[in-house]
């Protein structure tokens, strides 16, 4: 059981890297979106420092969104999803393996590049580590919730826009608690409640999304 789980995970990570496009394109998109802000609102350093955390979080959300449709689309088109549905591993665990692979191939590269963008945005020195922590805790929720949108739109030809409409509202809690927890961690006041909420939201999506996505996939295969 565990072997199958990791075999599916490795296969998806391999596809993500081997096409060369998936991960590197998402990272490039992330960098471009963040660099647009200093260009758009001018090089005033205090202003940039103030909005840095929020901008990076929003850009991470959008970059993650960009790659969501690929989670199930290719497998649906080439028939692998049929075979997965008939495989000994429950579909819920397959969804989880694919969400994990998505997180490793998109969110982890984003987190690695984040310090560079922090410098670009003149972010406070104190904010770097808190931002990375919160992204590590919060981004798994992005991949997990993303599987719902991806599986609901898998049988649609042009599901991309619909996917964004479905998923972005669900990303709002991650954004709010992600940005808030960076603030509270820097200021070291108000405790770590937002941080705990962020973690709770990730665990909540871990508990809910595999079932929801597996149900949506079964509908799509019908």
């Amino acid at each position: 059981m565990k072997n199958i789980f990791f075999a599916i995970f490795k296969r998806d990570v391999h596809i993500g890297w081997s096409q060369g496009s998936t991960s590197s394109m998402v990272v490039a998109f992330f960098i471009i979106v963040v660099t647009l802000f200093p260009l758009g609102i001018g090089p005033e350093q205090n202003m940039l420092a103030r909005i840095a955390v929020g901008v990076i979080w929003v850009a991470a959300l959008l970059a993650c969104l960009l790659s969501l449709d690929r989670i199930f689309q290719a497998d649906f088109e080439d028939g692998s999803l049929d075979q997965y549905a008939l495989s000994p591993l429950p579909l819920e665990l397959i969804v989880l393996a694919k969400a994990l692979a998505h997180w490793v191939t998109t969110s982890v590269p984003l987190i690695i590049i984040t310090p560079l963008l922090g410098i670009l945005m003149n972010m406070d020195d104190d904010a770097f580590m808190p931002l990375i922590y919160t992204m590590l805790i919060g981004t798994p929720a992005l991949s997990l919730i993303g599987t719902i949108g991806s599986s609901l739109t898998v049988s649609l030809r042009r599901g991309g826009v619909l996917l964004s409409l479905l998923i972005l509202p669900l990303y709002v809690p991650v954004l709010i608690f992600g940005v808030m927890s960076v603030d509270t961690l820097i200021l070291d006041m108000g405790g770590n409640a937002p941080f705990l909420f962020l973690g709770a939201f990730t665990l909540f999506s871990l508990a809910i999304t595999p079932w929801a996505s597996a149900a949506a996939i079964r509908l799509a295969l019908d």
């Binding site: 075999a7 088109e77 080439d78 028939g79 049929d82 549905a85 495989s87 591993l89």
Partner: protein, 219 residues
Amino acid sequence: MSEAQNISSNNLSVIRGDRPVFEDLNFYVRRGQLLKLIGPNGSGKSTLLKTIAGLIDPEKGEINSGENLITGDHDWIARNICYLGHKNALKKEFTVLENIEFWANLWGMPDKIKPSIIQMGIEFLMDTPVRYLSSGQTRRTAVARSLCHPGSIWLLDEPTVGLDDQGLSYLSGSMKNHLDIGGIIICATHVDLGIDESMIKILDLADFTSTSSLHMEGW
């Protein structure tokens, strides 16, 4: 190989969208038999195979194997049923061997990889990425992948599409082998597979097309 003695359906009806595809369909196949599904396009051959595989829920009726009710029994289906659909379920960026290896390992049958590759005559393509294969070679790879499955019931949906004479004879050879060791095959095809008539049962889906859908076609 896990053993299924027979597989049968009992008054099976399936509706796709608003359209009834077939109604009150009954079949019975036992070990060592091939059930050949024929019928005009759209008569529900693929739908029937998908229903047996559990990918489509029947509106009414049930599918049994011996004493077991298998409709909705995911574990039983995963162990016993090997499904090869229209789509080949191969990843273009991986080689033939990597593709087959992945599924064989997933099914826990790594020692079947080499024999099935040889069986379908694609040894020389083992290290070629699937994107460079012709459609016939891709189909052969998909068949070789299916040969690794431990299940004794094969559901084949037009397995011969794209295959040349040699590929066809390899395929029918594997199918004969499977029947000889007591397997069951349900196959939608219009091609003569060169298998002994005594092992073949024919199911014409046109006989079960629902009257209401005929009515709708005339509409």
